[in-house]
């Protein structure tokens, strides 16, 4: 049976080469992407390239425009201007062939609350054109490994927040996409679940595929991602390889050196320790 999880390969993921060395083609290429909501510029003339085979962390404070960017890159949102190339082809919200090759866990998860987990996953798998036998095999396997088997008599509306997230994650990977877009995948998933997801993601990129994810858990980013961008008010404020921290290296920004990603983040966003008199 065709399984989603490949043979374990725990070491491969940590000993990766620096950015730019492994890959020859670009997974994502964005040029002058802009999205306006009325007067608010959610994404401001954003440009970046991402080679294939990377685990890309897209960080930034609340409201920085991360989810909006993911929305544009996955066809949920139509940008006001700019071009997007995925896997070497131009991408718009009508690019159904390209959409087949990407997997998305969007903000808000986009679940159909009144389906059962297996119905929802099977629906997704069928929409990506998987054959019926593969559909059933993968759905059952995913529900088992994610620990949702005992819950498949409940509708998604009755799932806990973490369970819902796992279902959305499963729906994003069920068709073995080439690029995986994840909006805050780890938040509210239990530690064992997070450990497993991280392991999956490492193997996913080790197999030459690409992950684009946002998260607020900087520690995870330090240990998981090759390549990190921090955005602020819709444009990239810093981009670099955080892998070097593991080897005792530092991150450089505006001529300063930082030993943790958190220190760098706070430097960019501005530390705020105001206290509330009345609290």
């Amino acid at each position: 049976m065709d399984t989603i999880l490949e043979a374990p390969n725990r070491e491969a993921s940590r000993d990766r080469e620096g950015p730019g060395e492994t890959s020859h083609s670009l997974a994502i290429s964005v040029e002058n992407l802009t999205k306006l909501y009325g007067d608010v510029t959610a994404v401001d003339n954003l440009s970046f390239d991402l080679p294939t085979g990377r685990l890309f962390g897209f960080l930034g404070p609340n409201g920085a425009g991360k989810s909006t960017t993911i929305g544009c890159l996955t066809g949920l949102i139509d940008p006001n201007s700019g071009t997007i190339n995925l896997l070497g082809e131009q991408f718009t919200s009508d690019s159904t062939e390209l959409k087949r090759r990407i997997g998305v866990m969007p903000e808000g998860l986009a679940l159909f609350d009144h389906l059962y987990a297996h119905e929802f996953l099977a629906f997704n798998a069928r929409m990506y054109g998987l054959d019926e036998q593969t559909v059933r095999g993968r759905v059952e396997e995913l529900l088992t490994v994610l620990g949702l088997n005992s819950a498949h008599h409940k509708r998604l509306a009755q799932f806990s927040t973490g369970m819902r997230k796992k279902v959305a994650f499963a729906a994003a990977i069920i068709h073995r996409p080439e690029i995986l877009f994840l909006d805050e995948p780890f938040e509210s998933i239990d530690p064992a679940g997070v450990a497993m997801l991280k392991d999956w993601l490492r193997r996913f990129v080790a197999g030459g595929r690409t992950v684009f994810m946002t998260t607020h858990v900087l520690e995870t980013v330090e240990r998981l991602c090759d390549d990190v961008a921090i955005i602020k008010a819709g444009h990239i404020a810093w981009r670099g390889d955080v892998g070097r921290l593991a080897n005792g290296g530092t991150l450089e920004c505006n001529g300063q050196q930082f030993t943790t990603l958190e220190a760098l983040f706070l430097h960019l966003v501005g530390e705020r320790y105001e206290h509330l008199e009345w609290l």
Binding site: S67, T74, G75, L76, I77, D78, S93, D94, T96, E97, K99, R100, V104, P106, E107, G108, L109, A110, L111, F112, D113, H114, L115, Y116, H118, E119, A122, F123, N124, R126, M127, Y128, G129, R136, V139, E140, H152, H153, K154, R155, A157, Q158, T161, S188
Partner: protein
């Protein structure tokens, strides 16, 4: 956590902070089942609650006003006001003055008032079933939990705001018209009549809410739905027959028995207050009406306190290839999964199940809907009813195809399909489900109405008109689904209002065949109608063409509208 976010992203959050700061209320969110009648009355009179209440009522009208400032909203508002105005005038002139003046002379004033109020009462229930009862989602139980209101206060706010609905305004106008009419004719006084009308409408609203709650509870299980469906069909089909046969055999006794019974109901009590001059009867009526309201409030509290039946599947293991999957397989890989998802969703939704079960019944109401028509107009009435079958009873499904998807609507944007496919699949599912309703209705019609000679032209005409209307309103449903969508609550029987656009379509779709039949019934005989049976076929072809055309047009317009549609249904505040 989600709710917390919603709180700050929601446009109401501003008002929330206003309420919190102004009142500094210390009420904590308490258990929903905790309402008792005493605490209910106590809360009603607390000053800080009155302030909350006032703020929320203002908020409701501010929301209406905000909507009215959009282009769509202005057209809709104009239309609704126009309609309301017309209906008000109609009611006040006919329902009130005319009847009161006409009948008072016979000394039957109170009895007439009783029957008029009873018909208003039933209309109130019927209209609410059609259009959905209650206010917008912003004032649903879940939304109100965000405010510093306890459970009793939420109960009061929800229902008081529900009572301010335009539907009830129509009834208020009718009842006021009656009170004014009687006062002018020298019976009762307006001073007493108005409060009575007010209490009467409250009782009517409460009764409707109780009925809808019971229906909602029954619809949660399959057995319940089946039971309810059967009961309603039996009641509507044999009820009038039984009454009719009783009346023909023992006319006077039956009439008097009904009249007596009616005296004990809210319409009877209100009629006693409005019409009679004796203090004892007025007080008696007031007491009765008050008692009814109390009992209904109590019943409503109890019903709403019931925990929701958990929606668990009976079986412990996954069932592959169930009915929905099989149906989907028939449609092939492209639409199959989408259509079976759509069917699953709709057949699990209480409100849609209820409307599907009850809609064929409209056939049996022909005699009630068009009273006083002879056998000559039988065919015309049947045609009108089969036309209305789609416009009047399918709204929840057809006119808001994405309404129940909530945040799930984003999924259509992610999947490797054009967004139009989702719309087309939803429409296909709706056509399929409503076609079943048409066939069931046709079977009922055959059983109950064809004591007369039936010929093939009749069958062709009826089915053509029924399916023509199905296509016509599904076409309009494509339009309202995209341009006037509304986020709906999947589990609620209450609080499921149609959007303005959908309301307009429904109202026009009912009024045109209704007035058309009234006007034509005496002018066109059955034989003339039958001679032109082929026109019905033309209508069917035209409607299918219209459906295809509108689909083509809307799919082209969808691109620019898609993001807005997603935000509206997913609720930009509830990601």
């Amino acid at each position: 956590m989600f709710r917390y976010f919603r709180l700050f992203r929601h446009p109401l959050s501003l008002h929330l902070s206003v309420i919190t700061f102004k009142c500094g209320s210390t009420n904590q969110l308490s258990q929903r089942n905790f309402i008792t009648l005493e605490s209910f009355w106590k809360n009603l009179l607390r000053p800080d609650f009155l302030w909350h209440f006032w703020t929320l009522v203002r908020l409701r009208y501010r929301l209406i006003w905000a909507h009215a400032r959009t282009g769509n909203g202005r057209i809709a508002l104009f239309f609704v006001l126009y309609l309301l105005g017309g209906l008000l005038a109609l009611f006040i002139s006919f329902g009130g003055f005319g009847l009161a003046y006409g009948m008072v002379g016979n000394g039957q004033g109170e009895s007439v008032a009783r029957w008029v109020l009873a018909s208003l009462f039933i209309n109130g229930i019927g209209l609410s079933l059609l259009f959905g009862l209650g206010s917008r989602e912003a004032f649903s139980e879940d939304s109100l939990r965000r405010y510093p209101l306890n459970s009793q206060e939420r109960f009061i706010v929800r229902h008081a705001i529900g009572l301010l609905d335009p539907i009830w305004l129509i009834l208020v106008a009718g009842a006021f018209g009656l009170a004014i009419g009687f006062a002018r004719a020298g019976y009762g006084s307006i001073l007493i009549g108005f409060p009575a009308v007010f209490l009467f409408i409250i009782a009517n609203y409460l009764m409707t809410a109780v009925i809808l709650s019971i229906v909602g509870i029954m619809m949660q299980t399959r057995t319940g739905s089946a039971l309810l469906g059967t009961a309603v069909i039996l009641l509507v089909s044999f009820g009038p027959l039984a009454i009719a046969s009783l009346i023909t055999t023992r006319r006077l006794e039956v009439w008097q028995a009904f009249d007596h019974l009616l005296q004990l109901t809210p319409p009877g009590a209100a009629a006693a207050i409005i019409v009679s001059d004796g203090a004892a009867r007025v007080l008696g009526g007031a007491f009765l009406l008050f008692l009814w309201s109390l009992i209904l409030v109590y019943a409503l509290i109890k019903l709403e306190g019931r925990p929701r039946a958990s929606q668990t599947a009976a079986s412990g293991s996954i069932i592959w290839n169930d009915f929905y999957d099989q149906f989907g397989n028939l449609l092939g890989g492209k639409y199959g999964p989408l259509v079976s998802k759509s069917l699953r969703y709709h057949l699990r939704c209480n409100f849609i199940r209820f409307s599907l079960i009850t809609s064929p019944i409209i056939v049996l109401m022909g005699k009630v809907l068009f009273p006083g028509q002879g056998p000559e107009s039988f065919l015309l009435i049947s045609l009108a009813i089969f036309f209305m079958l789609s416009s009047a009873t399918g709204a929840a499904l057809m006119f808001n195809l994405f309404g129940y998807d909530s945040a799930g609507i984003r999924r259509y944007g992610i999947l490797p399909i054009p967004f139009a496919d989702a719309l087309r699949a939803g429409s296909l599912a709706s056509l399929f489900l409503r076609a079943i309703a048409v066939f069931v209705a046709f079977a009922l019609w055959l059983i109950f109405y064809t004591t007369r000679a039936l010929n093939w032209q009749m069958v062709i005409m009826i089915l053509s008109v029924a399916f023509g209307s199905l296509f016509l309103f599904n076409a309009l449903g494509l339009w309202t689904s995209v341009f006037s969508p509304k986020r709906l609550d999947f589990d609620a029987m209450l609080n499921n209002r149609l959007s303005f656009g959908a309301n307009v379509v429904v109202i026009v779709g009912i009024l045109i065949p209704f007035w058309g039949t009234m006007v034509l019934a005496h002018r066109i005989g059955q034989s003339v109608l039958l001679r032109f049976w082929w026109i019905a076929c033309l209508i069917l072809i035209f409607c299918i063409g219209f459906y295809a055309l509108l689909q083509w047009v809307i799919e082209r317009l969808l691109k620019s509208r898609r993001e807005r549609l997603i935000n509206l249904v997913a609720g930009a505040s509830d990601k």
